[in-house]
Each structure stands twice: as C-alpha cells, then as structure tokens.
C-alpha cells in the first residue's frame, strides 16, 4: 500500500468512532446542562436547609475526583454488584454528572453576577417569584453563562476520549484497536489528534464569538 492509501484507511477507521464520540458529547452536554441548571436553581433560590449542603457536597466529590475514576466506579464497580451499565450509558452518566457540577457553578456565577435590583424590581412590578426567576433572571444569567458553557463543551469533547478506557467504541477506542493490528502507531495517534482538533476548532470559534458578544465570564 502507498502512504496515502494507508492514511485514508486510518482516517476511515477513525471516522467509525465519530458517531459515538458525537453522541457521548451531545448526550453528556444535554444531561450536564439540564441537571446543572436545575441544581443551580435549587441552590440559588430554593433555600432548603438540607438540600444546599447536599448539593455542595456532591459538587465537591464530582469536581475533585478524576473522570476516569468515576467511570470505573460506574462501569466496573456497579457491575460487580449486579448493576450492569453499557459502556456508552456509563460514559454519558459519568461525564454528564461531572458536567452537571461544572455547569451548576457556571449558572450560579451567572445568577450571582446579576444586580439585586433586577429581582427586586420584577417582584415590585407584580411578577410572581417563579416568573421573576424564569422570565427576568434566567435569560440574563444565561447570557453571562454562555461563554463558560462553550469552554466546558470544548473540554467535554476532548474528555470523551477517556471513555475509550471503558471500551466505548469512540475515536480513541478505534485508534487503540487499529494500533494493535497495524504498526502505524505514530500516524494513527497523530491522525486521531488531528481529528479531535478538527472537531473542537469550530466549537472554540463559536465560544470565542460568544465571549466577544457577551463578554468574558470571570473566574
């Protein structure tokens, strides 16, 4: 085989993992954003005595332990007590929950950045507390949170490579299995890296656009 045809067969092999990489990224992002937003609302506005420290504790645990360890607990650990998750379910659940802790912090920072007068004015104008939160505060907080969410999405896309360790058939998984059957190690991993770069560049560009448009999120 000529160099080019080897290269194309490598690309073809890696692209087979594209679907799973995209699915894990999008599903984790959706889970993380939805659950993180819910947690941020609870933590910021509900003011329930027992819930606040519980949310904080969960976020600390999720943020101070590596994703790989969480994935091993979910995939290998739970299987040993009879809860068998597929590798993709474990991947989405693990990355999604870690992401929820991250987006919760991003949304909370967004709400905290709003001047107190916003809520006071909305309440004084006769809106109910729920209307105030969803119609006045959330849209503004969302604008502040967008660049942070974009950065998180870029990070998440790269982090999905870790789920190859629990045998989810994404890009890195195919790279590793191709390496064992051919000896083009350097080229296969370099091509995989380039493929990730190709995927994350548009996301980075979009994030930069959001940052310019809505201002950089501090912290």
């Amino acid at each position: 085989m000529t160099g080019f045809s080897i290269f194309f067969s490598v690309v073809e092999g890696l692209v087979a993992g594209l679907g799973v990489t995209a699915f894990v990224t999008i599903a984790s992002l959706a889970l993380a954003t939805a659950f993180g937003f819910f947690l941020a609302l609870l933590r910021q506005f509900a003011g329930i005595k027992l819930i606040d420290p519980a949310i904080d504790a969960c976020c600390e645990i999720l943020c101070n332990v590596p994703a790989l360890t969480h994935l091993f607990i979910l995939y290998f650990g739970l299987a040993s007590i009879g809860v068998k998750l597929t590798s993709i379910t474990a991947a989405v659940l693990g990355l999604g929950l870690i992401g929820a802790a991250i987006t919760c912090a991003i949304f909370r920072a967004g709400f905290a950045a709003l001047p107190g007068g916003q809520a006071e004015a909305a309440l004084a104008a006769g809106l109910t507390p729920l209307q105030t939160i969803f119609e006045i505060l959330t849209p503004q907080a969302m604008r502040i949170a967008l660049p942070g969410l974009g950065n998180y999405a870029v990070q998440l896309l790269k982090d999905t490579s870790v789920v190859s360790a629990i045998a989810a058939p994404e890009i890195m998984f195919f790279a590793r299995s191709m390496v064992t059957s051919s000896f083009q190690t350097t080229m296969i991993y370099a091509t995989a890296a380039a493929l990730y770069l190709l995927l994350s560049l548009p996301l980075m560009q979009a994030t930069r656009f959001l940052e310019r448009r809505y201002g950089r999120l501090k912290g």
Binding site: V65, A67, F76, Y189, K218
Partner: protein, 220 residues
C-alpha cells in the same frame, strides 16, 4: 450496606500501603508535570508578548492546537507513537511531558489574563518613578500578577492532578493503575475504585478549598 463496607475491614490493612504508595506516585507525577508546565507556560506567555511576530504566531498556534487535542491522544503519541520515529520515553517521563505540554497552554492563558488585569498606569508610574523596564516588570507588575493568578493557578493544579489519572493508560503505576491491578486481584472493583476516588479527593479537595479562600472578590 454492611456487606458493602465489610471488605474495607477485611482488607483495609493490605490496601492502605498500596494506595499510599500509589498516592505518592500520583503526587510526584503531578508536581513534576506542574513545575514543568509552569516554566513552559511562562515562556509561552513571554512569546505571546514578544515583539517578534514569529514567536507570537508560534504561541498562538501552540495554544490553539493544545486546546483542541485531548491529553490522552498526546500521551499515546508520546509513549506509543514516538518510538516509531526513534524517540523513546519511559512511561513516567512520557506522562510528565504530556501533562506539561498540555497544561503549559492553560498556564500561559492564565499569565496573559493576569497581565491584562494590571492597569497600564502601574508600569507607567513605575517608569516615571525611575525604574528600568525590567525592574518595573519584576518588582511592580509580577507581584500583582502573582496575586491575581494564584487562585486559578491552584485550580489548574487540581485539574492536572485529576488528569494525571490518564497516565494509568500508558502504564504509569499511579492511583488508577494500582486500583486496576488491585481490582483484578481482590474482585472488589466497587470498593477499590471508591477508595481510589477518596485518595484523589484527599489530595485535591484541600487545594480546591484553598483556591476558593484565595480567590479575589472580582474573580470569585
């Protein structure tokens, strides 16, 4: 619940020394990689500020590429890929190099944000007061930058510490790999991986708390 906790009582004495040794390896790996990332990141941010266009382009390109490529791909490339073109790393060296190369970009971005946060009046005033440009940078600007980036720098260290777990996939005998071999030996993956998670938490959490304490009000 007691069935779940029982193995800790049965095997805790055997597990603890294994985990402690692995924690030392993880800590050593993270600290070495962070020191290297710090130095390389500082050089990168000097490149970003350089008056040579070539250096500025190099720094910008480097940061963009590293931000878009997963650490795992870099580690595999260094450890499995480079021997193919004649450059051989041992696993620990490859892990340090990979982590340092990736986190240098984050360190450089922090320095850049820190330098931007210092008002121009500071160096103007220093120059007007008779400091040389070098003195003004080292004595006036750097200490203020250091204060601004201290908290985010600690968070970056925590991220690096967590990402050092990927070194297990290139056979570095740190916490996760130790956990894996323990799991195959004892057939108790749930208990063992939770113990591994607690080990990471024990190292990372104090730094997270410290970083929040040190965060400046404007950036909190």
């Amino acid at each position: 619940m007691s069935a779940f906790l029982a193995p800790y009582g049965d095997y805790g004495v055997e597990w603890l020394p294994l985990l402690l040794r692995a924690m030392m390896n993880t800590a050593l790996l993270s600290v070495c990689a962070f020191v290297l990332a710090f130095v390389f990141g500082l050089l990168l941010s000097l490149c970003q500020k350089s008056s040579f266009a070539a250096l500025r382009y190099f720094a910008a390109l480097y940061v963009t590429i590293v931000r878009g490529v997963p650490l795992l791909a870099v580690l595999f490339l260094l450890y499995f890929g480079l021997p193919g073109i004649g450059i051989v790393f041992d696993a620990f060296g490859a892990a340090i190099a990979g982590l340092a190369l990736c986190f240098a970009a984050q360190v450089a971005e922090l320095f850049r944000a820190g330098l931007k946060a210092i008002p121009a009046g500071q160096s103007e005033a220093a120059l007007a007061a008779g400091f040389t440009p070098a003195q003004s940078f080292v004595l006036i600007i750097l200490p203020q930058v250091a204060r601004v980036i201290l908290a985010p720098m600690i968070i970056t260290f925590v991220s690096l510490l967590k990402d050092s777990s990927l070194a297990s996939l290139i056979t570095v005998n740190e916490l996760v790999l130790t956990g894996r071999s323990m799991a195959t030996e004892y057939f108790l993956p749930l208990q063992i991986y939770i113990a591994v998670g607690l080990c990471y938490f024990a190292i990372a959490w104090p730094f997270s708390v410290l970083s929040r304490r040190l965060a400046l009000p404007a950036t909190r």
